[in-house]
């Protein structure tokens, strides 16, 4: 790996071999980060790569387990976010972390309001706020309530607050995700000005074009480790994405595509789709999208974080209500899905990417977790008979190789991979026609991963229609019969998965030719 060769001024912040462990998960593994004065430093990585954890370790939200943090060469460990702020490290988090019920000016100056004789001087406060806002090109009444403004404006106010503390280090975690092009341009102007004044800016964004436009240097994380520190100049988008996504070195057999070929014999128009979306979209999450799902087929969804891949699955399942478009189940008359309950009644199933928040019931037993989907369909008056219960649970414990194979254990005592299998079992027990899988293999060990991949292939062979979403392109390509590529909340390509490799997909996403193979040859 080529280490960017810079002879830098002394870093403002230097994090050395920082590690943090949550339970059994190593969220940060010997991560080092250097921030130089007067640079915009992009922190890159997929979901779960450790970006947020790294930021929170720096700003005193988390305590680090090992490693050192130096600010201006002096070893430091902030106990609270407030302490970090006092030391000149300001953070704007992804979700607006302000209070909507106070005015814009108060939100900018809370905790250091101008006072006269102990009384908050509102006039002076509004004047100061207006000045800082104007510097950012925002023309709003500082006396108005923050909550009355759109999220984009709130985000800018959050940035204005951070900038206003005379920060030497400014951390912007996904600041542009809710901004439009003009607002982004305005933000970048401010960032450049601050950089020229010597502020070190950490910029986290999943919009590659923006990263390349504004950043000077970047650190790339994957699975809690640093996989590269580069100058932006001389790095291509393709290279960056390859580093972020990584390559699964384990050579797995390319799964049999016989099903796909058989399916291709019948022209698609002649077959009836199991589920079909026409112009399905939702403001702020996905532009109007068409998609047909057929029985016995795996459709892979490829796209980076924030491309709209999760949003698509949620809309298909009725977990979020669409603003536009129609969903037809088995060619039924046009109607939308009102709720997940409605979708499940129509033989749909959805495994969320957020296992902990949206899937697992930690305090319930493995058996209960497994049977909850079926039980919810039957209603509380018709419990699943004990004999059926144990047959089903035994069957799926064995079929999915869930360990430990004790159905009475609480769900929280299982590893991530086994929890994922239990959730898969929950849906398989309901015998769905369509299975929507969002990142079913994230954060689980390689053994469980292969088993789940094999299971997906088997299910499709038996006639199920599967949507497979994953950040790992290899995995998507290995399993899918058809490939849908999303970018910036839009479908940009859909094609049968024949003769496509990772580099082709990356080309589609980044719009740049070239691949890792060529690059490696060039390095050698």
């Amino acid at each position: 790996m080529t280490q960017a060769d810079v002879t830098p001024p002394r870093p403002v912040v230097e994090m050395l071999d920082v590690s943090i462990t949550f339970g059994a998960v190593r969220a940060l593994d010997d991560v080092s980060l250097r921030l130089l004065p007067g640079e915009v430093h992009a922190l890159m990585g997929e979901n779960g790569a450790g970006k947020s954890t790294l930021i929170k370790a720096l700003t005193g939200v988390y305590t680090i387990d090992s490693g050192r943090v130096q600010v201006d060469g002096a070893e430091t460990q902030f106990a609270t976010p407030a302490a970090a702020q006092r030391a000149g490290i300001s953070t704007v988090y992804q979700e607006v972390n302000l209070v909507p019920n106070l005015t814009v000016a108060e939100n900018m100056l809370l905790g250091r309001e101008p006072r006269r004789l102990g009384r908050i001087d509102r006039r002076e406060m509004n004047r100061r706020a207006a000045t800082s806002l104007r510097a950012l090109g925002i023309e709003i009444d500082p006396g108005s309530e923050l909550g009355s403004h759109p999220i984009a404006v709130q985000q800018l106010v959050a940035i204005a607050r951070a900038v206003d503390t005379d920060a030497r280090v400014l951390i912007l975690d996904e600041p542009t995700s809710s901004l439009d092009a003009d607002e982004v341009a305005r933000l970048f102007e401010v960032m450049r000005r601050l950089r020229d004044q010597g502020t070190a800016i950490v910029f986290v964004s999943h919009f590659l074009d923006q990263v390349f436009e504004i950043s000077d240097r970047m650190t790339i994380l994957r699975n809690g480790r640093v996989v590269g520190e580069r100058l932006v100049e001389g790095t291509t988008q393709l290279e960056l994405v390859q580093l972020m996504i990584g390559r699964d070195l384990q050579v797995l057999d390319r799964l049999d595509h016989a099903v796909q070929e058989a399916a291709d014999d019948v022209p698609a128009e002649k077959r009836l789709p199991v589920l079909s979306a026409v112009g399905l979209g939702r403001k702020g999450s996905l532009e109007a999208t068409d998609l047909n799902l057929y029985a016995g087929e795996v459709v892979g969804i490829a796209g980076l974080l924030g491309s709209g891949r999760t949003e698509l699955a949620r809309l298909l399942f009725g977990a979020d209500a669409p603003d536009t478009g129609e969903l037809m189940v088995r060619g039924s008359s046009r109607r939308r899905l009102r709720s997940p309950r409605h979708a499940i009644d129509r033989k749909l199933a959805f495994c969320s990417e957020d296992r902990k928040a949206e899937g697992v019931f930690e305090e319930l037993s493995v058996a209960d977790n497994m049977l909850l989907g079926l039980q919810a369909s039957r209603g509380w008056l018709r419990p699943i008979p004990t004999a059926t219960r144990s047959t089903l649970v035994e069957e799926f414990l064995t079929a999915l190789d869930i360990r430990p194979a004790d159905p009475s254990l609480p769900m929280r005592s299982l590893s991530g991979g086994n929890q994922q299998k239990v959730l898969l079992a929950r849906w398989l027990i309901t015998q769905p026609d369509v299975l929507l899988l969002d990142e079913p293999t994230r954060g689980i060990d390689i053994g469980a991963k292969t088993q789940i991949q094999q299971l997906v292939a088997d299910l499709a062979e038996k006639g199920m229609s599967v949507v497979f979403i994953s950040a790992e392109l290899e995995e998507v390509l290995r399993l899918s019969h058809r490939l849908v590529v999303l970018k910036d909340r839009r479908k940009i390509a859909e094609r049968p998965n024949r003769g496509i490799d990772v580099n082709d997909v990356l080309e589609i996403i980044t719009g740049e030719p070239g691949g890792l193979a060529e690059k490696e040859r060039a390095d050698a």
Binding site: A82, Q85, P100, N101, L102, S148
Partner: protein, 332 residues
């Protein structure tokens, strides 16, 4: 005065189709209060007499002070069930210490200290041990009531001259009207609280806590001190309310103020403060108490209406405000 200013602001903005939502509930309460007084004035002779209004303030002085303390707590998204018992405890401590011959100043200080300590203790449990406000203040409620019985099971009369003098003291207003000292005191407390909430860092942090506690923490605000502080203030207000109640009844009794916490909560809610925190004004709570008082005045003037209509109408008003606020917050 501040109300008229608010109204001008409303009119000006309503013309531009963007009424300041945060003032709407208080304006609603104000309109309700005026409307009730208007209807009362039309229906019953003597209802519109300003002295009726001044007596309303006198009769509810203790509740006004309780509601002020409750407003601080509810603004942070918490609740304080202990205030009723705290009032009873305060009346008893006052009566017993006076009986023991302590000087009035010392009596007042002891009462205020006890109330504040109780509030602070609950605040510490809530903040540092993550015990839900509901449960922690429920314990406080039991504790204060239990302490009452330890002091005395029977009612203790207050015969101190200073106390009587204050209780019956009043200032004469032009036109021969008079306003009791205790009412004046309650209004001063409202003014002080309004100032603290609107114009000090502590006050604004109270609102920030109710808006979003995690955000307040990330913004580096003094969350712990503020959270414990509001319960201490509520305890202090309950002690003050207890002193006013002792003046009102000239006795200390363990069965005083049973269920008064519900009245205080209802007054705050009817005053337009959001029970989930972050929105509301002390002036609203004052209006809320006045609305509750007016209902009672109404019923006593009418003579044919039974007392239970008080409770039912309070319940209906709480419902209306809760549902209206739910609709307002859902839209945003």
């Amino acid at each position: 005065m501040s109300v008229t200013m608010v109204e001008e602001g409303l009119l000006a903005r309503a013309a531009r189709f963007s009424p300041p939502r945060r003032y709407l509930p208080v304006l609603g309460t104000f309109a309700l209060f005026i409307g009730m007084f208007g209807v009362g004035g039309l229906r019953y002779e003597g209802f519109a007499d300003p002295q009726v209004f001044l007596t309303l303030l006198l009769d509810n002085a203790f509740l006004i002070v309780l509601a002020v303390g409750m407003t601080f707590v509810i603004l942070t998204g918490g609740i304080d069930l202990s205030v009723g018992s705290n009032v009873a405890l305060s009346t008893l401590i006052a009566a017993r210490t006076l009986e023991l011959g302590l000087p009035v100043v010392a009596v007042v200080l002891v009462v205020l200290l006890a109330g504040t300590l109780l509030g602070t203790a609950m605040g510490l449990l809530i903040h540092y041990f993550d015990i839900q406000p509901f449960i922690a203040t429920l314990a406080g409620m039991f504790l204060a009531r239990g302490l009452c019985y330890l002091i005395s099971v029977d009612s203790i009369p207050i015969k101190d001259e200073t106390f009587s003098a204050i209780a019956f003291g009043s200032i004469t207003l032009p036109g021969g009207y008079y306003l009791g000292w205790t009412a004046v005191f309650a209004l001063v407390i409202v003014a002080v609280a309004a100032y603290v909430l609107s114009s000090t860092r502590f006050g604004r942090t109270v609102y920030a806590l109710g808006g979003s506690e995690p955000s307040a923490l990330l913004m580096g605000l003094p969350v712990a001190a503020t959270k414990v502080g509001v319960y201490a203030i509520s305890g202090l207000c309950a002690a003050l309310g207890g002193l006013l109640f002792a003046l009102y009844t000239l006795s200390g009794y363990s069965l005083h103020a049973v269920g008064m916490e519900l009245d205080a909560i209802a007054a705050v809610v009817i005053g337009g403060t959001l029970l989930t925190g972050g929105r509301g004004f002390v002036i609203g709570s004052l209006l809320g108490v006045l609305v509750l008082g007016t209902i009672q005045t109404f019923i006593s003037f009418d003579g044919t209406l039974s007392s239970w209509w008080t409770r039912i109408s309070i319940g209906v008003l709480v419902l209306v405000f809760v549902v209206a606020q739910r609709v307002l917050t859902r839209r945003s």
